[in-house]
Amino acid sequence: MIKLLEHFGNYLIMLKGMFSKPENGRVYWKEFIHQCYELGMGSLGIVVIISLFLGAVTTIQTAYQLISPLVQKYVIAQIIRDSSFLELSPTVVCIVLAGVVGSKIASELGNMRVSEQIDALEIMGINSKTYLILPKIVAAFVMIPCLIVLSMFLTVWGGYLAATLSGVMSSQQFNQGLVKDFVSFNLIFGLIKSFTFAFIISSISAYFGYHVKGGALEIGQASTKSVVVSCILILFADYGLAALLL
């Protein structure tokens, strides 16, 4: 328990230490763009695959469960749409991203710590937290919601493909369901979630990576820890947001 509080305190100190005036805006901007590219490109493939399959599988399974003749076919499309916007894309994809992005950030920073690269930055008079962590968090804040929006569309599209190809329903029925009773707040809610999760993933993994002590073994441990902790926090936040905003 005391350990937990200590971690939390250090985490806040790290976040606070991150905000200092950049020594040179251009270099920081370049680093930010680089991080955006790394993060976006590094996880694009997995997001595309996961989203398509999530959509397809959910469609088929929902159709399998909804056999009542009283329920119109288009309802399946509605279910896909809403579950994708509300839960599948933001939460499930972010949990995967916690693994992909989080472990990368943690191991990269951990390696820099262990090989004294962070010390080298400090010695040059550079605030290593600002230079290394801030661009990563901001990049995650920009890129992860983009990925999630992409994932929302791909999930629905995956559902569409599965529905039409397997003959569950026609494309007219699917489209009818897509637009019927569309609540735009669901989309906004999905976005709020993805911003929150983006912050959790990037800051937690940066925390564990930045504070590595020791050697290669500890880098591995830090990256595992960062994935586990971010996943748990994502689920907590997921519940919290749902209870709060819905």
């Binding site: 004294e116 690269q117 008079g125």
Partner: protein
């Protein structure tokens, strides 16, 4: 000039530096010698402020680091160049980008000027044609030299070198020693260098401080060191290659 007053540093119950005081003069190569684990790296890191002290003071040109404002500390750090024991090059940057990094961060020079300066310092450490290689693609000795180039690219006032010649062949090692000595004199830099290489002690030490189990055991010039009667110091010196060298010389003298 850097003044160190009674510094103490411990990790938990393990005392690594115990009441060390000394003065590091400008325009001189101040050597810290001592066997592995004697606290040399910790001493350097305390001096530059990467580690906090348990007690004691460090003064740069009479100014106490402990009472400096954040801004003053930042300014001081831009005047410090440091060569780490493990080189600490940025893995994601090429050799050229590594050396250019401090220039990018702290100067407003044009790209052409920066490149010129980078090539100048790389040239001085005898490294050509490796500009576009990544740290993972060059040898340990080359990394050391790139790191030295990065440390001196901004013309620092203080240069800290943690074992600059471990992992270098004797010839390159000598080149690096000479280079450090030259720039120290040329720009009147205060250089502090850790080493356990007696060749480099005899080559470049203006002032030598011997650390033994975290305490300053001996201090003096390279002329004095051979005549010192300190037992621990003698054990350290004559366990080194220098002794073998001396022995060889003796064997070569005709009877």
């Amino acid at each position: 000039m850097i003044e160190v007053k009674n510094i103490k540093k411990s990790f938990g119950s393990k005392v690594v530096l115990n009441d060390v005081s000394c003065k590091m003069e400008s325009g001189k190569v101040n050597l810290i010698i001592g066997s592995s684990g004697s606290g040399k790296t910790v001493f350097l890191k305390c001096l530059v402020g990467l580690m906090d002290l348990n007690s004691g003071d460090i003064l740069y040109e009479g100014k106490n680091v402990a009472t400096m404002l954040e801004q003053e500390k930042k300014e001081l750090r831009t005047q410090i160049g440091m060569l780490f024991q493990g080189s600490a090059l940025f893995d994601s940057l090429t050799v050229e980008q590594n050396v250019m990094f401090p220039l990018d961060m702290f100067t407003k020079k044009s790209p052409a000027e920066k490149l010129k300066r980078v090539n100048e310092v790389l040239d001085r450490v005898n490294l050509k044609d490796s500009n576009h290689k990544f740290p993972a693609e060059i040898s340990g000795g080359m990394k050391k030299r790139v790191a030295l180039a990065r440390a001196i690219v901004l013309n620092p006032k203080y240069l800290f070198c943690d074992e600059p010649n471990s992992g270098l062949d004797p010839q390159t090692s000598l080149v690096v020693d000479k280079l450090i000595m030259e720039i120290t004199k040329e720009y009147n830099i205060t250089t502090i260098m850790n080493t356990h290489d007696m060749n480099s002690v005899m080559e470049s030490g203006d002032k030598i401080i011997f650390l033994y189990q975290g305490e300053k055991r001996w201090e003096g010039s390279k002329e004095d060191i051979i005549f010192s009667k300190d037992e621990k110091l003698n054990n350290f010196i004559f366990a080194s290659e220098f002794l073998q060298e001396a022995k060889k010389m003796r064997m070569m003298v005709p009877k």
